[in-house]
């Protein structure tokens, strides 16, 4: 086995043991924290695919995260009320239906946004993705049926046949399993010829076009795939927190996802997960000590951006190289 495989397996085992460790030490909140960090890690990793590998700086990624979440929320709402969405589609609380639905609908939204946004580039691309995310944000705020600004409560986590999903640890393992699967999927994706083309477009779009590749179409595929990943993460988050709200797609959430990617390391597989873990831990820990936690977080971020290149992954690699 290669060194990378050993490290991955070890990390997976450690993460799988978190619920036991939490029970042994009496720190029940650990499972919840690590679970959320994993989900944010998935969202950040999906963003990293277009941002880090594809060079598309999307400032509206939280929209797809939120849409995925709302799919779960809205389906549960109709399941609970016994009504049908638009009078046609009955609600459900089956995870085997809600997750694929969330992925699909987030992907559709990403196709819509991407098809228009990718006609621009640079600063305009950053701003137009932000604009679309804002539109979704205000759209969901104005939907009074689904809670408006307050969001939707999902009183029970979606069920999965054969598992007791109301058990926190079981839900955590499901999240961990999906996060690991998503990591492996991205790993394959990046190494595939598709991933190579995406990376090629980032390095020199004109050259790829000259080689006869329809860059717009490839970028759109990547954008859609990335939106689907964010939708999956959003759907899991709503299951995990049993709550969907417009805050999930607020523009500062998109900023946070970008921070996670940068902090961990742009264009690396594990970086977004590390970045998400570190930022989330930092925020929750500091929030415990002071209500002004945003100040130290801001200062730390500023220092990281100004001083480092390549984020924490570069740091780890340098340490690993020496040791």
């Amino acid at each position: 086995m290669k060194r990378e495989h050993i490290i991955l397996a070890a990390v997976f085992v450690v993460l799988a043991l978190v619920p036991f460790a939490a029970e042994l030490t009496g720190q029940a909140s650990w499972t919840r924290l690590v679970g959320q960090a994993l989900i944010y890690g998935m969202a950040a990793a999906s963003l990293n695919f277009i941002l880090g590998y594809g060079g598309m700086v999307s400032f509206g990624h939280a929209a797809f995260f939120g849409i995925g979440g709302y799919v779960v929320g809205i389906m549960y709402h109709h399941f609970d009320a016994g009504t049908a969405f638009l009078g046609l589609i009955p609600g459900t609380d089956q995870m085997l239906i809600t997750l694929p639905a969330a992925i699909l609908i987030a992907g559709l939204a990403a196709a819509l946004v991407g098809a228009m946004s990718l006609r621009t580039g640079g600063v305009q691309f950053i701003m137009i993705t932000l604009a679309f995310a804002q539109m979704f944000f205000f759209l969901f705020i104005s939907l009074k049926t689904y809670g408006g600004e307050d969001g939707i409560m999902v009183r029970r986590t979606n069920s999965l046949p054969g598992l007791n999903m109301r058990d926190k640890a079981t839900l955590y393992w499901v999240v961990l399993g999906l996060a690991a699967a998503y990591y492996l999927f991205l790993r394959r994706l990046v190494q595939s010829s598709f991933g190579q083309i995406i990376a090629g477009i980032r390095q020199n779009e004109r050259r790829m076009a000259a080689m006869g590749i329809s860059t717009y179409r490839y970028k759109l595929y990547a954008f859609v795939l990335s939106g689907m990943g964010a939708g999956l993460a959003g759907a899991l988050m709503v299951n995990f927190l049993r709550f969907a709200s417009p805050d999930m797609m607020h523009w500062s959430r998109s900023g946070e996802l970008m921070i996670m990617v940068i902090l961990g390391g742009v264009g690396t597989l594990a970086g977004p997960f590390i970045g998400a873990g570190v930022l989330f831990t930092l925020e929750t820990t500091l929030a415990r000590y002071t209500e002004h936690w945003m100040l130290p977080v801001g200062i730390i971020l500023l220092l990281v951006v100004m001083t480092s290149k390549g984020g924490l992954m570069a740091l780890l690699r340098r340490l690993g190289g020496k040791g």
Partner: protein, 304 residues
């Protein structure tokens, strides 16, 4: 009819505020190629400094001076301390660093002034209202804001088109490398432009302080609209910022004022209200998306 006219004036006043913010932002964007999400912080600094001083001294004009000074100084400090290191970086790092600056500015303001909004009073001279057309008394302060905005627009036009600094600014917006290669002291120019942008944002903040509530986060709300203005107008174009600012200010105000009422004729009250507010908030973003689809570089793009 009278209501429509009043809302048009309100829209003009909001548009002028957007222009004050967007003018600085578009220059910073166009000349230094840097995305400054923290531009709203200068607006907030101006509003807070102005409001605080005018509460302490009882003079709006003292507050105006303080607000301008504070925002310009903060702007210059930020340029020297942070921005200068970011010019060579890619947009991603700039977005993040300025995002971090927003957190720092917002939280520092909470530490200094608390979460309670500050309330200031209008200056004596402009505390009344005049009847512009029969049956419509309009507050003179809002007219004053419009006048100041238009005066700044004229001033910027003269500065950019008739002076040597303006020439450098125009040259910088169309080709940065060339200006640098011609041996212009670009660092000094950068600091000056950044300070000017911050000053204009501070001016917008002081002018808005008696109308909106001065509180933490006020900059975040308006900065997104400002970015929309900058992008629609075309990065680097002050003319574009002016046109887009006025148009957007008007459209946004009109939508907010009339859309919920129009929807109420078609559907039940509270839902129409919520949907109307939602759609009118989406309005400016929809406009930006449409403009960018037709003209990917905005209406008056300076760069070729």
């Amino acid at each position: 009819m009278i209501l429509l006219f009043e809302q048009l004036l309100n829209g003009l006043q909001y548009g002028v505020t957007l222009f004050l913010l967007a003018a600085g932002l578009t220059l910073i964007f166009g000349i230094m190629g840097v995305i400054n999400l923290a531009h709203g912080a200068f607006y907030m600094v101006g509003a807070f400094a102005g409001a605080w001083v005018s509460i302490q001294t009882g003079s709006f004009w003292g507050g105006l001076l303080a607000g301008l000074a504070a925002s310009a100084i903060v702007g210059i400090v930020v340029e020297l301390g942070v921005m200068r290191r970011l010019y060579a970086r890619d947009h991603l790092d700039q977005v993040l660093a300025t995002f971090a600056l927003i957190l720092i500015f917002n939280q520092s303001t909470v530490l200094i002034f608390g979460r309670q909004p500050l309330f200031t009073s209008l200056p004596e001279v402009f505390s009344g209202s005049i009847e512009i057309i029969p049956g419509l008394p309009y507050p003179t302060f809002r007219l004053f804001v419009i006048a100041v905005g238009l005066a700044v627009a004229v001033g910027l036009y003269l500065l950019i088109n008739k002076t040597r600094i303006g020439m450098l600014v125009r040259a910088g917006a169309s080709n940065r490398q060339m200006v640098r290669a011609l041996g212009v002291n670009i660092q000094g120019l950068y600091t000056a432009i950044f300070g000017l942008g911050a000053l204009l944002a501070g001016l917008a903040g002081v002018m808005a302080s008696p109308i909106v509530s001065v509180q933490v986060g006020m900059g975040d709300e308006i900065i997104l609209a400002t970015f929309v203005v900058v992008v629609i107008g075309g990065v680097g174009s002050v003319k574009g910022a002016f046109v887009a600012g006025i148009v957007l200010g008007m459209c946004d105000t009109m939508l907010r004022a009339f859309l919920p009422g129009l929807l109420q004729q078609a559907m039940p009250g509270p839902e129409a209200q919520a949907l109307g507010v939602g759609i009118s908030s989406m309005g400016i973003y929809l406009m930006m998306a449409l403009v960018l689809l037709v003209r990917p570089r905005g209406l008056f793009a300076a760069q070729g």
